[in-house]
Symmetry: C2
């Protein structure tokens, strides 16, 4: 990693100042990160039901009040419009802009959803010695549109997105046991080993870099918070805003606060 922030407040300040506009895997180790989806209120109910019906890829951590861009729960006082590295604005499912803040785009009918992210458990994995290849390449895990379908709700439907991490065979059990406890950040893997059963081509991730599976490693797949973006894109909403992929919202909560035991 080229940069690490010990403090999520300092990290969000760097975003606000546009000093950090890159991806956030292990940017503030041990802090819970979240995906952002913003939709007009007219679509918020169906979107929330979609998330409820697909809890593995879409664990909702916070729903902000209609029109309010300020987080109350994940990071009290953080401004959704400025405190992420970069955003994507979509109109009818087409990318129209990738701004560094949303100050000029905000509307009173916007509802913001913060959704769990597997970056949140990466520190727990590395702490027990599970090496994650993307970290040594200063990027984020490979993310694929899987062959698996989600359960629709209203206009929302589409494939489940998955993140993949190559794990050494003898560490797979440990990776499962650890991540299972982070159920609000996708929890246990949804598939282990046979890539062809869940994705089309392991060498062609939709996002992130692919690192060759090494001898002794197996590909391990987790449900991914890009899923609700895919669904909202397929629904071709008149307007929808998300974080730019892998450029997450970094919360004030630590991973230990989100264990199953809490």
């Amino acid at each position: 990693m080229t940069a690490v922030y010990a403090d999520p407040i300092a990290f969000r300040q760097a975003c606000r100042n546009q000093q950090w506009t890159e991806q956030t895997s292990q940017i503030a180790p041990g802090y819970v990160q979240a995906n952002l989806v913003i939709v007009p209120k007219a679509y918020a109910y169906d979107f929330l039901v979609y998330c409820q019906r697909n809890p593995k890829p879409c664990p909702v951590l916070e729903v902000l009040d209609v029109g309010n861009p300020i987080s109350q729960y994940l990071a009290k006082g953080a401004d959704i419009r400025t405190d992420l590295p970069q955003y994507c604005i979509y109109e009818k499912g087409q990318l129209v802009a990738e701004p560094y803040d949303l100050l000029g785009d905000w509307r009173d009918d916007f509802v913001s959803f913060l959704i769990g992210c597997s970056f949140s458990f990466e520190n727990a994995l590395t702490k027990v010695g599970i090496n994650l290849p993307h970290l040594t390449h200063n990027t984020h895990p490979a993310v694929y549109q899987s062959l698996w379908k989600t359960t629709p709700a209203g206009p929302f439907y589409g494939p489940m997105a998955v993140s993949m991490r190559p794990i050494y065979q003898e560490q797979v059990k440990q990776a499962i046991a650890i991540t299972a406890r982070y159920y609000r950040n996708h929890g246990a893997p949804i598939h282990i080993g046979h890539a062809a059963e869940i994705i089309k081509d392991i060498s062609q991730p939709e996002y992130g870099g692919y690192y060759q599976i090494q001898p002794g490693q197996v590909p391990v797949f987790w449900a991914c918070g890009v899923t609700p973006q895919l669904a909202a894109l397929q629904a071709k909403l008149p307007l929808m805003i998300t974080h730019k992929v892998a450029r997450m919202f970094v919360s004030d909560w630590q991973d230990k606060d989100f264990l199953d035991i809490n």
Copy 2:
């Protein structure tokens, strides 16, 4: 127990025929049970956000489509209007009827929410030898309105409801470890030992019987799915329907299907 159904389908049939109208703790051991809340569509978004903001007491397991009384997920084909033992109808927060079915009361704008229930992990506790006093008295655990407040959403607010089970000191760790894994059915306890910190009077539960804490036992409190009922009552909705307390929806899913590892 006076009656046990090995099969949830047979149990729901008994409800439909009004052959079973009583409480359901351990009625179909090992099957996941759920609380029912029905509200008009106009209140469904705020109610779902309320549940999202209070995931310990209000883990939503299924949201039925607007106007549709048939479950798709927890028990495919089950009819919400007939397949529970008994219901409560509230107008502006006042109980107006306790019917055995909802066939005459159904409306096209009704949205049904099925919410996790701690009865779902009772079989896992008894299987390791943790004795639950209410079972030997053929009733359900004591349920209290706690002193703790929930996080509001729209018109919904109020105290958290809790269920209490007296557990022998040497079994408390095991009870915590087991229930933590059922995070979609309230998960780990929210309080152990000092009743006065969480409820007013341990001898006066709002629902269910109180069984004297025996020497060597401590009271253990779990978040309870009566919470959203309390919130909806405080909101004084024009109309709201729930199951009658402790008379739950029994699903086709087994407790093992709802573990954190899934």
